[in-house]
């Protein structure tokens, strides 16, 4: 296997947190009426002095951002219980209209280690059973606390507080929606810090923009980061050698290899769901066409062959097809190619043109950039009904990427002449902007489950 570990003449690496200067913050631009009320009670600190960490703040933010939940204001809470046992009256919580109550406590376990306990309670069920439901099983009366939807106790290092808070959010989200939470996932993106020696930066952060790390800084553009299915590597396009080349970089070890350097375009890398192949765009033989490379043998297979532009290949979740943007019909539209039969079908017909299509994790929808009357918006189209919905009202939207649980889309848009990242829920009801401090933030890629 041809494996080139590149010297770092022009390009500096950094995994040091101190260098992360492109932190993001969430600004909610549009709320949602469908968000369900939930009570997040501040966890009780069982030690002396100030509490070591505010878990509930992180959990509340996560739940708001999901677009599915609306934590009630703290001053509306009837009391501050830390366990189910401390709840005296379920009906006053039920009257709040909340679907669930999250309570918990934090105690010092050892130096730097803390015991965090929490319970998620259904107040309506609690009101009915009085906190104890009884039923007959195997000729005996069994008592059960089925109003407690979930509850756990863990010992957590103080350095992992934030991560554990996201874990709690995942548990709450899954208990209440039946879907896996995506609060412990990450995003990769490109940050451009204009006017510096190495303006182009490949970044990885938590999904909420926290813990941003610089993976690569370059004097020339970086594009199109794509996650390996195991979440350990990124493929991306770098112009560091004054031409487009595809690189693969391990996000933990910084180990880096050049995958392709064909003449002209080397672009739009996309890992297959099994991680064994890479779809890409090459124009070495003329027009930009879609190719698939077998990563072990480095053998290339040409998938499309058209004299007009074919680009932006993305795999369907079953790994059997690719969707891609093509100009073969005149204006750019999203097409789908079956890899076995090589049969190509056009899939988008709404508006002037459609680009950058990605298939949703359940395979039942296509998210794309829709151009209509000169505006570029993120839109969703369902298979096989063809139902079409414009999801965003922002301008110049591009580079949509879907959370692994299919709940949200992150994309890049313009705000005050600056490229910023924004989130929109899959139904378009909840939208949030993630502004950077200074510079352009673009090409977001949502990680798989980690």
């Amino acid at each position: 296997m041809k494996r080139i570990i590149l010297s770092m003449v022009l390009v500096m690496f950094s995994l040091v947190s101190g260098q992360a200067n492109a932190g993001l913050e969430i600004v909610i631009t549009e709320g949602t009426d469908s968000a369900r009320p939930i009570a997040v009670v501040p966890f009780k600190w069982l030690g002396t002095g100030a509490a070591p960490y505010n878990f509930t703040e992180v959990v509340s933010s996560d739940l708001i951002r999901s677009g599915r939940f609306k934590p009630v204001a703290l001053h509306e809470l009837p009391s501050r219980p830390s366990t189910d046992a401390e709840i005296e009256n379920y009906s006053e919580w039920a009257r709040l209209g909340v679907e669930a109550v999250l309570v918990g406590s934090v105690a010092e376990f050892a130096a730097g280690r803390y015991e965090v306990s929490y319970q998620l309670i259904d107040p309506l069920r609690g009101q009915i059973t009085g906190g104890l439901s009884e039923y007959i099983k195997d000729e005996g009366l069994v008592s059960e606390q089925d109003h407690i939807l979930d509850g756990r106790t863990s010992v957590v290092l103080d350095s992992q507080f934030r991560q554990y808070a996201h874990r709690i959010s995942d548990v709450v989200y899954e208990a209440l929606t039946g879907e896996r939470g995506a609060f412990l996932t990450r995003i990769a993106y490109v940050f451009v810090e204009h006017g510096t020696r190495l303006p182009y930066q490949l970044m990885v952060s938590d999904y909420d923009g926290e813990n941003a790390r610089v993976l690569l800084r370059s004097p020339e553009p970086l594009m199109s980061p794509a996650w390996s299915p195991d979440g350990s590597k990124l493929a991306y396009v770098s112009f560091e050698n004054k031409t487009a080349e595809i690189f693969i970089q391990d996000i933990y070890t910084t180990e880096r290899e050049k995958l392709t350097s064909f003449p002209r375009i080397n672009g739009s890398p996309a890992w297959s769901p099994d991680g064994k192949k890479m779809a890409m765009v090459l124009s070495k033989d003329g027009a930009p066409n879609v190719y698939v490379m077998d990563l072990a043998s480095r053998r290339l297979k040409q998938i499309t062959d058209h004299w007009r532009i074919d680009t932006e290949p993305k795999w369907t979740p079953d790994g059997k097809s690719l969707v891609f943007t093509s100009e073969r019909g005149g204006l750019p539209q999203v097409y789908r190619v079956d890899l076995d039969s090589a049969r190509i079908r056009r899939t988008t017909f709404n508006g002037d043109s459609n680009l950058g299509g990605i298939v949703t994790p359940d395979g039942k929808g296509l998210v794309m950039v829709n151009r209509d009357s000169g505006y570029y918006h993120i839109a969703r189209q369902d298979f096989p009904t063809g139902n079409f919905q414009q999801l965003t009202q922002t301008t110049l939207d591009e580079s949509p990427s879907i959370a692994p649980n299919g709940s949200m889309i992150i994309y890049s848009t313009m705000h005050n002449n600056q490229q910023v990242l924004a989130l929109v829920s899959m139904d378009g009801r909840f939208q949030a902007r993630l502004p950077s401090k200074a510079g352009d933030v673009k090409a977001p890629a949502w990680s798989p489950f980690l």
């Binding site: 553009p221 002209r264 672009g267 930009p288 932006e312 950039v369 673009k442």
Partner: protein
Amino acid sequence: MQISKVIKASIMALSVITLAACSSTSDDVSASASASTQAGQATTEQGVETGAADRILTPAEERARVREQQQQRYADLRKENVLYFDFDNASIRPEFAEILAAHADYLVRNPSAIVVIEGHTDERGTPEYNIALGERRAKSVVDYLQSLGVNSSQMNMVSYGEEKPVVRQSNERAWSQNRRAVLVY
């Protein structure tokens, strides 16, 4: 910055040489004129002015002069190395034909010279689609130069798509300046 200074300096030097050449062509005439300089001064006092007729050039000299003028014009034109394009379009606009002719002339006369043609787009559309569109712009410049006799081995293409705008704004004026091809030697 440095390079453009050098170019400016060499242009200046060139024009000085050209001027010197002009005056030297009239030397044989001015030889006798200089002999009568003192007389000339005297005549000036009397309010008369002398003039010289243009010397008739041989056809060879005429061709050389025309060529020299064209070279000078091409050298000036070659300072222009950016071409602009219409939205979602890669056609060479007629106003850039002469600039490309100047570059083609240079490349044909200097077969060892290599030019990189960069293709750029405005920010509208998706980044990877714009990479393809930028390459189409670079390609139409390459095809145009090739039609003027430039060897394809002298030309390399790179598309930066929307990644390197010259004007970082979202309006029609900025976009029209960002949709461009740049010839880099």
